[in-house]
């Protein structure tokens, strides 16, 4: 299985501010009643984006000026809560290709990396700078440089880090581990024989 090398992502930003945005908010549980991930994009942030009657609430994703954005900006502990891969799947299917936030919940970070979504960590004041630039000009092009761990926008640049295992996996095209895990199968069987509960 050959995967794209995700060295950088360029596109427009969408600020979805706030800390501790949980996976129930990203994709409410009732939209997980499905046996495929198809179509999840339209339910991204549904309950904070839509009223009960289906009309729009004020939310960045409802603003025309942010349409077509591919880089999501947020706060601390993004993606906390459930392990549902439906959350990064919805983010990706909506059209986002990278996230810049102050921090991520562990499981969400792993799930996103496996889908090839770089989750870059940046300082609050730097995210505020990017967000301010996006507010001023929503069409502004932002480059998330995964390799160099940097975000560039409108002549400015700020550091944005990603843990080394994630950076390596993305830039070298091995973010979905299945191929490599399959190659290890003989070693898997050997390890299993050393464990009484698996050898039996």
């Amino acid at each position: 299985m050959s995967l794209a090398k995700i060295t950088s992502v360029t596109g427009r930003g969408v600020p979805v501010t706030g800390n501790d945005i949980d996976t129930d908010r990203i994709i409410p549980a009732r939209f997980m009643k499905c046996v495929t991930f198809d179509g999840l994009g339209e339910f991204l942030f549904y309950d904070v984006r839509k009223n009960a009657d289906g009309s729009d609430k004020p939310h960045p994703l409802n603003e025309a000026r942010f349409k077509g954005g591919t880089i999501l900006l947020s706060g601390a502990n993004f993606g906390c809560g459930s392990s549902r891969e439906h959350a990064p799947q919805a983010i990706q299917k909506y059209g986002f290709k990278a996230i810049i936030a102050e921090g991520y919940a562990e499981i969400f970070f792993g799930n996103s990396t496996t889908l090839g979504i770089p989750c870059m960590t940046a300082a609050r004041e730097d995210i505020a700078k990017i967000a301010a630039a996006v507010e001023a000009d929503p069409k502004l092009e932002i480059t998330v440089d995964v390799g160099a761990q940097q975000v560039r926008f409108g002549g400015q640049s700020v550091p944005a880090t990603i843990r080394e295992s994630g950076r390596d996996a993305l830039i070298n095209g091995r973010w979905d581990a299945i191929g490599e895990l399959m190659e290890g199968l003989p070693a898997v069987k050997a390890t299993a024989t050393t464990l009484p509960y698996l050898a039996a």
């Binding site: 129930d24 991930f37 496996t114 299945i178 399959m182 464990l195």
Partner: protein, 471 residues
């Protein structure tokens, strides 16, 4: 060199290092359910992959099952489809499926321990963040995404980076009326909603030593609510006594060999911890959440936080956001807050001892008029035990609806949902916006006895007063 349990289990299950520096980790036991597995089986079909060790994966159905309807087809056709998909996938791959007909169905984190599948010194994965529950047995248990469910099905391994280990000692003695749920809500409140990111939590100290397995499960269950993907307790005689005789526990001579092996996984004295936190049990009171994440909790006699009283901008914003959603008054007591719904159940507090403890006090009491109260055993096994002890009848006599096993109103993927902005006293684990099925529904997390106290008084109450627990 002395090692922690985490390190020992990790080392024993390490297959090899991967190119990006992560570890290919053997997952001895895999648990699946209907919500996060169908796409994984789909990916397997797309890639032409086979299940490597079907006997090491166990399935049950929990999230979408209706608790007021046993027979299929379910009234919700999507739920029925998910149920059938799991049945079909298990049949096609030879995976054991604890369905309702088996009498062993229930919430995956209750079924695993109940069947004796959850064992010390093992690695466990499940596409559900509350998999940390199984750590109560001294297992390293990971909540995983669907792509990783695929990885485990196909290779019995996954790619992971090691975690740091934080030891949390809960020392001293809990006051009467203070439960395992209060301990974990207190820990989360103390260390923060993301304080555990990057850590495995090792829960220890006299309080954990004295706890039953069910109490340890309640604590480990909510590790993820404090950001820790993994939480565990070192295995001891309590662990072994719980497992002995369970259907999947080793038998006869194999039992003694297993116990000796399990003991060897416990953390060594003097091993390295990346962090140590000490918590004094006597400082823990019955705890109730007032906000929209599980760290936003206070003891029953504290006041709801007031954003104007803090200088920290972040805190102000999070209090304001939470109280605007919760429609609670800053600076007001949480005690006396009127509730609409009481929910007893979930993988946090849906075990026999949870219902048993409440039943002790609920006899002769009545659910307050206007409160909808439902009790949902965590598994068919729990339901049968409750029935044999007459516990279900105590709940029914008090005015609770007694239901069939499932996740139910913890996340409301079945018909059990809040309506509008109803306020629910809940023994579950998450108080996120919209968590209990209504986009404006509100959740207050608390111990089962506190839920019962709220149910009978119609408002948040101190269970110690309502039920004279101190006597």
């Amino acid at each position: 060199m002395p090692k922690s349990l985490f390190q020992k289990v990790w080392d024993a299950h390490t297959v090899r290092k991967l190119a990006n520096g992560q570890t290919q980790l053997l997952i001895g036991t895999h648990l699946i359910h209907e919500v996060t597995s169908p796409q994984a089986f789909g990916m397997m079909r797309d890639l032409g992959l086979k299940v490597l060790m079907p006997h090491r994966t166990f399935a049950t159905v929990d999230h979408i099952v209706p608790t007021d309807q046993f027979a299929e087809p379910y009234s919700d056709p999507l739920a029925q489809t998910m149920m059938e998909e799991l049945r079909k996938n298990c049949a096609a791959t030879g995976i054991t499926f604890f369905d309702r007909a088996s009498g062993k169905q229930g919430i995956v984190h209750i079924v695993g321990p109940e069947q004796g599948i959850t064992q010390p010194g093992t690695t466990i994965a499940c596409g559900d963040s509350h998999t940390s529950t199984h750590g109560a047995f001294g297992a390293i248990a990971f909540g995983i995404g669907t792509s990783q469910v695929r990885d485990v099905l196909a290779t019995q391994t996954m790619a992971l980076g090691a975690l740091k280990v934080r030891r949390i000692n809960v020392t001293g003695k809990l006051h009467p009326g203070v439960y395992a749920k209060d301990v974990i809500l207190h820990i989360i409140r103390t260390l923060g909603v993301n304080g555990g990111t990057g850590f495995a939590y090792e829960y220890a100290g006299e309080v954990l030593d004295r706890f039953t397995m069910e109490e340890r499960m309640t604590v480990c269950n909510m590790s993820i609510e404090g950001g820790a993907r993994v939480g565990y307790v070192n295995p001891d005689e309590t662990t072994f006594a719980y497992l002995k005789g369970r259907p999947y526990a080793p038998k006869a001579a194999a039992w003694y060999a297993a116990v000796a092996n399990w003991k060897s996984f416990a953390s060594d004295a003097g091993c390295h911890y990346d962090d140590v936190v000490n918590i004094n049990a006597s400082e823990i009171a019955p705890t109730v959440t007032w906000g929209i994440n599980p760290a936003q909790g206070i003891s029953i006699n504290e006041l709801i936080p007031d954003a104007t009283k803090t200088e920290v901008a972040d805190e102000k914003a999070s209090i304001d956001e939470a109280l605007a959603y919760m429609k609670l008054k800053p600076g007001a007591p949480i005690k006396g807050t009127k509730i609409d719904v009481a929910f007893m159940g979930s993988c946090t507090n849906g075990r026999l001892s949870d219902f048993q403890e409440v039943a002790k006090y609920l006899k002769g009491k009545r659910v307050a008029p206007g409160v909808k109260a439902i009790a949902v055993p965590g598994s068919q096994g729990v339901g049968v035990l409750c029935a044999s002890l007459g516990i279900d009848q105590v709940f029914r006599d008090a005015g609770f609806e007694w239901r069939e096993a499932g996740c139910s109103m913890c996340l409301a993927m079945n018909p059990d949902k809040l309506i509008g902005d109803q306020l629910c006293a809940s023994s579950s684990n998450r108080n996120f916006k919209g968590r209990q099925g209504s986009p404006t529904g509100r959740t207050l997390l608390m111990s089962p006895l506190m839920v019962a106290a709220a149910a009978v008084t119609g408002a948040v109450a101190d269970a110690r007063e309502v039920f004279a627990v101190n006597n």
